[in-house]
C-alpha cells in the first residue's frame, strides 16, 4: 500500500496553518517564579529528608521537639517533594511549553499568578506548617490535611483552565505527545486525588486501603510520570533538532500508561485481606506497565540515535537521558517487585524506599531538572552557568546511585532477618550501617541541588533567546523536517481519524473508571460481605480516649514504621500472630495498615506489653530497647515516663486496644482447639524455629504467665563450656536485658525508675533452670518482662548460664527440714497464693499477675527475702508483712522459703 499524492498534498494544509502568524506570548515571570519556588522547596524538602535519615542513626537528634519529630518531618519531606518541588517545576514547564504546543498563550496571566499563590501559599506552605503542628492525614502521598486537599483540587481545576483549555483550542490531531501527557496528567490527577485523600476518611479499614492503594500508585503514575515524560519528549527533539523516533509509539505509550497505571494500585497490598482477585489484577497490570515503559523508553532512546555527542555535551539533555534510563530501571523493578514471590520477601523493607527514591529523584527530579535547565537557557534575561550544572549532574548521579544501591541491599538484609526467627531488633541492628551510608549519600544529593540552583543565578546573562551550542552542532538541517513533514488528513477516507483522540480519551476515562470498579468498588463490596459475616456482634468500637490516641498515632507518623497488617504469610504469622482480617478494621477511619516496617507490626499489641513498658517506651524507647531507633515522644509526658499527659494516656489506650477485638472474639482459640497439630512441646531441631517464634495462641496474660510448652533449657555441665556460655550470655544480656535489669543485673537499669513491678534484681536470688526457661519463653505477665522465645536456643541457654552466674553460690538441694514455725506461718499466710508446698500454685494464684513465686525454682538471698517480707513487692500482689509478723516470725519464714528450693529436676535433666 502506498500513500496517495492527493493525501500527502492535502495534509500539508494542516501543517502550514500552525506554523504561521505571530507567536503567542510566554509568561516568563511565572516561569521564573515557579522555578524559584521549586528550588526553594526542593532544598527545604531535601533537608527534611536528610534530617529524617539522620534520625535513623541518631534517633534522639532534635528529638525533644514535636515539630521536628521523625514522623512529621517524613510527611513534610515527601509532600514537599511532591507539591513544592515537582509541582512547581512542572508548572514552570507548562508555562514554557503550552504556548508552543497550542500555538496560543495560556489562558490568563492573572489566573497564573492566582494559581501560583494557591499552589505555594495555600498548599505547600500551610501544608508544611499544619503537618509540623500535628494536623495531618496518615495516608501515603496524602499527608497534608483535608483543608489543604481542598486547595489542591482547586489548583488542578485552575490548571485545567490555564493549560488544558488553550491546548484543546488547538487542533487535537496536531497535538504533540507532550501536550497529551499534560492534558492527561492534569485531568486524571484531578480525578484521582480526591479518591486517595477523601474516600479513606469515609470508607474504613481494608475497604479504605483498596482506595488508598490506588492513589499511592496514581500519585506517581498520573502526576509525576506523565509530566516528566512530557518534558523528556519535548527536550530531546528540541535539543537535537530532530523529530522523535515515532509519534505513533509515543501515543501508544501514552494511552497504555493511562489505561494501565490506575490498575496497579492494589499491588501495594499483596497478601493482605483485600480480595485476591484484585491483588492479582494489579499484579498483571504491573507486568503490562513494565512492557509499556519499555516501549516508551525505547522510543525516547531511539529519538537520541546519532546524537550521543549531543547528549554528553548538552547537560540538560544529559539530565533527561539519565532520567529516562532511571524510568526504565525503576519501572521494571516495580513490575518485578509486584510479583508475589518477590513481594513476599522485599515488601515493607528499605528496598522499597530505594525504589521510591529512584523514581522520585532518578526519574522525576532528573527529568524536571533537565527541563528547567533547558528552558532556562531560552528565557531572556536569565543567567546560566553550564559548568555548575555539569557539577550538579555528577553530584546528583553519584549520590543517588549510592543511595539506591545502599537501600536496596539494606532491604535484602532486612528481608533475610525477617524470614528468620530472630528478634525484630536484630533487623534494626543489621542495617544500622546502611542507614548511615544512606544519610551520607544524601549530602551529595543536597549539594547537587544547591549547585543546580547556583547554576541558574550565576554565569553570563542571556539577553536573547538562543539554542545551545552543543545542539547546533549536533542538529540536522532543519529543512530535513520542514520538507518531509507536516501533513494533514483531508480525505474522506481518513476523516474519522480526527475523532480518534476523542475516542481514545473516552477510553482513557473508561479505564480510569474501570480501575476504581475493579480494584476498589468490587473488592469493597466483597469485603463488606465478609465483614458482615465474620465480625463478632459484640465487637466494640474504640473508646473516646482510644480514638484520640489513634489520631495522635496518625499525626506522629507511627504508621510509617509500624504496620497494622499481618500478611497471609508464614513469616508474618510466625512472628506477629494470626493474619489481619478485614473485619478487624471495620472501625478504622482512615486505615492505618502502613506500607513500611522499621518497627514490628502492632496489630496484636493487646495484652502483649504492660502499661508502664509502653509508657517508658513512648517516653524514650532506648530506656527499654537499647538499640531501638524509634523517636522519643517527651511532649506526651510531664517530665518523666511515669507522668504521662492525657495525650500520652490516649496513645497508650489506643496501643493497648490493637488486636483486642481479635483476642476477645475467641476465633483463634477455636482454631487452635480444632487444629490437629498440637503446640510444639519440645525443642527438637526440626520443629525448633517454628516453636520458638510462634506467639502464644492464648495470650500469656490470660493463663497466668505460664505455658506448659515452655522447654527447660540447661546450661553446659562441664566448666569450660559453661564459662564460654556465661561469657556469651553476658554480651547478650548487655544487648537485650541491661536497659531494664542494669548492666550488673541488679534491677537498676535506665528503665527501672518507671517500671512497676521493678525489674528483678537477678543477684538477689538463685533461679533454677526451669524458672529462667519459663520466664525467657513466656515473659512475666503483669510485668514489663517480655517473652524472648525468638532468640536461638543456644542464646537462651547462654542467658540462663549468665544470670545464674550473677548469684555465685549455687544453692544446694534441700538438706534440712524447714523450721516448724516457718512452715506453720507459710501455711497460714502465704499458701493461698504460693501454694501449700510453695510452688506458686495456690488457689488465688490464677487471679494475680505477676504470678506468685515458685520457691522450688527460685531461691532468694536472705537479704532479698527479708526485704520482701518487710516491704512487699510494688506492682505485684505481694504485700508487706512487717506489721503482721514480728521479726522472729519473719526470720522463720525466710528460712522456710529458702529451704524449699529444689533443683533436683535440673540435675536429672542434665
Amino acid at each position: 500500500m502506498t500513500v496517495s499524492t492527493q493525501n500527502v498534498r492535502g495534509l500539508e494544509d494542516r501543517a502550514n496553518t500552525q506554523g504561521s502568524g505571530a507567536l503567542p506570548s510566554i509568561e516568563y515571570d511565572l516561569i521564573r517564579a515557579h522555578v524559584f519556588a521549586s528550588l526553594v522547596t526542593l532544598v527545604i524538602s531535601a533537608l527534611f529528608g536528610i534530617l529524617v535519615a539522620t534520625k535513623f542513626t541518631f534517633p534522639d537528634f532534635l528529638g525533644g521537639h514535636a515539630w521536628l519529630t521523625w514522623g512529621r518531618l517524613r510527611y513534610n519531606h515527601t509532600q514537599g517533594i511532591f507539591f513544592g518541588w515537582l509541582g512547581n517545576a512542572f508548572l514552570a514547564f507548562f508555562y514554557y511549553v503550552v504556548p508552543r504546543l497550542a500555538n496560543r498563550p495560556v489562558l490568563s496571566r492573572a489566573l497564573g499568578w492566582f494559581l501560583f499563590v494557591v499552589w505555594n501559599f495555600a498548599v505547600v506552605l500551610p501544608g508544611w506548617v499544619l503537618v509540623a503542628a500535628g494536623f495531618s492525614q496518615p495516608l501515603e502521598w496524602a499527608e497534608f490535611p483535608l483543608v489543604v486537599d481542598a486547595f489542591v483540587v482547586l489548583a488542578f481545576v485552575l490548571m485545567v483552565f490555564e493549560f488544558v483549555l488553550p491546548i484543546l483550542k488547538a487542533r487535537l490531531s496536531d497535538l504533540y505527545v507532550s501536550g497529551w501527557y499534560i492534558i492527561g496528567g492534569i485531568i486524571f490527577t484531578m480525578l484521582a486525588y480526591p479518591v486517595g485523600n477523601f474516600i479513606p476518611e469515609l470508607v474504613p479499614g481494608a475497604r479504605g486501603a483498596a482506595f488508598s492503594g490506588l492513589w499511592i500508585h496514581d500519585a506517581v503514575g498520573l502526576f509525576v510520570t506523565p509530566f516528566a515524560v512530557a518534558i523528556a519528549y519535548y527536550v530531546i527533539p528540541a535539543t537535537t533538532h530532530r523529530p522523535i523516533f515515532s509519534h505513533f509509539l509515543s501515543m501508544v505509550g501514552f494511552w497504555l500508561l493511562f489505561f494501565i497505571y490506575p490498575l496497579n494500585g492494589t499491588h501495594h497490598y499483596v497478601y493482605s485481606a483485600i480480595p485476591m482477585s484484585a491483588q492479582k489484577g494489579a499484579i498483571v497490570a504491573s507486568a503490562y506497565l513494565g512492557m509499556d515503559v519499555i516501549l516508551v523508553v525505547t522510543n525516547l532512546l531511539l529519538s537520541l540515535r546519532g546524537n550521543s555527542g549531543t547528549a554528553s555535551k548538552d547537560v540538560p539533555l544529559r539530565f533527561v537521558w539519565f532520567g529516562v534510563i532511571a524510568y526504565l530501571v525503576v519501572s521494571l523493578q516495580g513490575s518485578v517487585q509486584a510479583l508475589m514471590p518477590v513481594n513476599r520477601f522485599i515488601h515493607f523493607t528499605d528496598w522499597v524506599i530505594g525504589h521510591s527514591h529512584l523514581a522520585m529523584i532518578g526519574f522525576g527530579s532528573f527529568v524536571a531538572l533537565g527541563g528547567i535547565a533547558h528552558m532556562w537557557q531560552r528565557i531572556p534575561g536569565t543567567r546560566y552557568n553550564e559548568r555548575m550544572t555539569n557539577w550538579s549532574f555528577w553530584f546528583l548521579a553519584v549520590g543517588l546511585t549510592l543511595m539506591v544501591a545502599d537501600l536496596t541491599i539494606a532491604g535484602l538484609v532486612e528481608a533475610q532477618v525477617w524470614q528468620s526467627s530472630s528478634p525484630w531488633i536484630d533487623s534494626v541492628r543489621a542495617v544500622e550501617s546502611y542507614w548511615l551510608v544512606r544519610t551520607l549519600s544524601g549530602l551529595p544529593i543536597l549539594a547537587g541541588f544547591l549547585l543546580f540552583w547556583t547554576s541558574l543565578v550565576t554565569g553570563p546573562k542571556r539577553t536573547l533567546v538562543i539554542t545551545s551550542a552543543a545542539s547546533r552542532v549536533a542538529s540536522a538541517d532543519p529543512a530535513e523536517f520542514e520538507n518531509v513533514a507536516p501533513v494533514s488528513v483531508r480525505s474522506r477516507s481518513t476523516s474519522w481519524l480526527s475523532y480518534a483522540h476523542v475516542v481514545a480519551f473516552g477510553a482513557g476515562v473508561g479505564f480510569f473508571a474501570l480501575s476504581f470498579i475493579v480494584l476498589a468498588i468490587i473488592p469493597g463490596k466483597q469485603l463488606e460481605r465478609e465483614i458482615k459475616q465474620a465480625a463478632p456482634v459484640t465487637m466494640a468500637s474504640l473508646t473516646a480516649s482510644e480514638q484520640r490516641g489513634r489520631i495522635i498515632y496518625g499525626r506522629e507518623g507511627c504508621a510509617y514504621c509500624h504496620t497494622q497488617q499481618i500478611r497471609f504469610l508464614e513469616a508474618d504469622v510466625r512472628r506477629f500472630g494470626p493474619p489481619t482480617e478485614a473485619w478487624e478494621t471495620k472501625y478504622d477511619y482512615p486505615q492505618l495498615w502502613g506500607t513500611r516496617r522499621i518497627g514490628p507490626d502492632l496489630s496484636r499489641e493487646f495484652n502483649l506489653r504492660s502499661r508502664d513498658w509502653q509508657l517508658t517506651h513512648l517516653y524514650n524507647p532506648r530506656l527499654v530497647v537499647q538499640d531501638s531507633v524509634m523517636p522519643p515522644y517527651p511532649w506526651l509526658f510531664d517530665g518523666g515516663p511515669n507522668q504521662p499527659t492525657q495525650e500520652g494516656l490516649d496513645v497508650l489506650a489506643y496501643l493497648q486496644s490493637l488486636g483486642r477485638a481479635r483476642q476477645l472474639s475467641g476465633f483463634d482459640r477455636q482454631r487452635l482447639a480444632s487444629s490437629a497439630e498440637p503446640e510444639a512441646l519440645d525443642m527438637a531441631p526440626s520443629t525448633e524455629p517454628l516453636a520458638r517464634a510462634t506467639p502464644p495462641a492464648v495470650p500469656i496474660a490470660m493463663v497466668g504467665g505460664y505455658s506448659l510448652s515452655a522447654p527447660v533449657l540447661h546450661p553446659e555441665a562441664d566448666q569450660d563450656g559453661l564459662q564460654e556460655e556465661v561469657s556469651r550470655g553476658g554480651a547478650l544480656f548487655d544487648a537485650n536485658c541491661a536497659s531494664c535489669h542494669g548492666s550488673a543485673g541488679r534491677g537498676d537499669g535506665k528503665a527501672s525508675a518507671s517500671l512497676l513491678p521493678k525489674p528483678a534484681n537477678l543477684t538477689a536470688a538463685h533461679f533454677s533452670d526451669e524458672r529462667l526457661s519459663s520466664v525467657l519463653w513466656n515473659g512475666i505477665a503483669g510485668s514489663a518482662m517480655p517473652p524472648w522465645r525468638q532468640l536461638p536456643t543456644e542464646d537462651l541457654r547462654a542467658l540462663i548460664a549468665y544470670i545464674q552466674s550473677l548469684n555465685a553460690p549455687r544453692a544446694t538441694p534441700r538438706m534440712q527440714e524447714a523450721a516448724g514455725l516457718g512452715k506453720t506461718l507459710f501455711a497460714a499466710a502465704c499458701a493461698s497464693c504460693h501454694g501449700a508446698t510453695g510452688e506458686g500454685n495456690g488457689p488465688a494464684a490464677g487471679a494475680v499477675a505477676p504470678a506468685p513465686t515458685n520457691f522450688h525454682l527460685k531461691k532468694p538471698t536472705e537479704e532479698r527475702a527479708w526485704d520482701v517480707l518487710e516491704n512487699g513487692v510494688q506492682g505485684t500482689a505481694m504485700p508487706p508483712w512487717r506489721n503482721q509478723l514480728n521479726a522472729d516470725e519473719r526470720h522463720a519464714l525466710v528460712e522456710f522459703v529458702r529451704s524449699l528450693y529444689d533443683p533436683a529436676q535440673e540435675s536429672e535433666g542434665r
Binding site: 507567536l23 498563550p105 495560556v106 487542533r171 533538532h241
Partner: protein
Amino acid sequence: MINLIVVLTTAVMFALLLVWWRWPVFRLWIEAPKYSMLRQESRFNDPDTERESATNLSSIDTSISEHPQVSGD
C-alpha cells in the same frame, strides 16, 4: 476480571498495530505532530519572529473549536 483487563489491553494494542500496518496514511497522520512541534520550536527560538501578547481573557476566543481539519475532497 483479570482476563478482562488482559483481553481489553491486548485488543486495543493489536487494533492500533493493525491500523498502523494496513493504512500508511494513518502513519503519516499520526507522525505529523512530531514535525510541527519542531517547527514551532524553531519559530519560538527565532528572535525576529513577531510576538503576540494575548494573556488577558478578553483577547481570547473562549469557544472550543470544532473538530478540525476534516473536510471531504
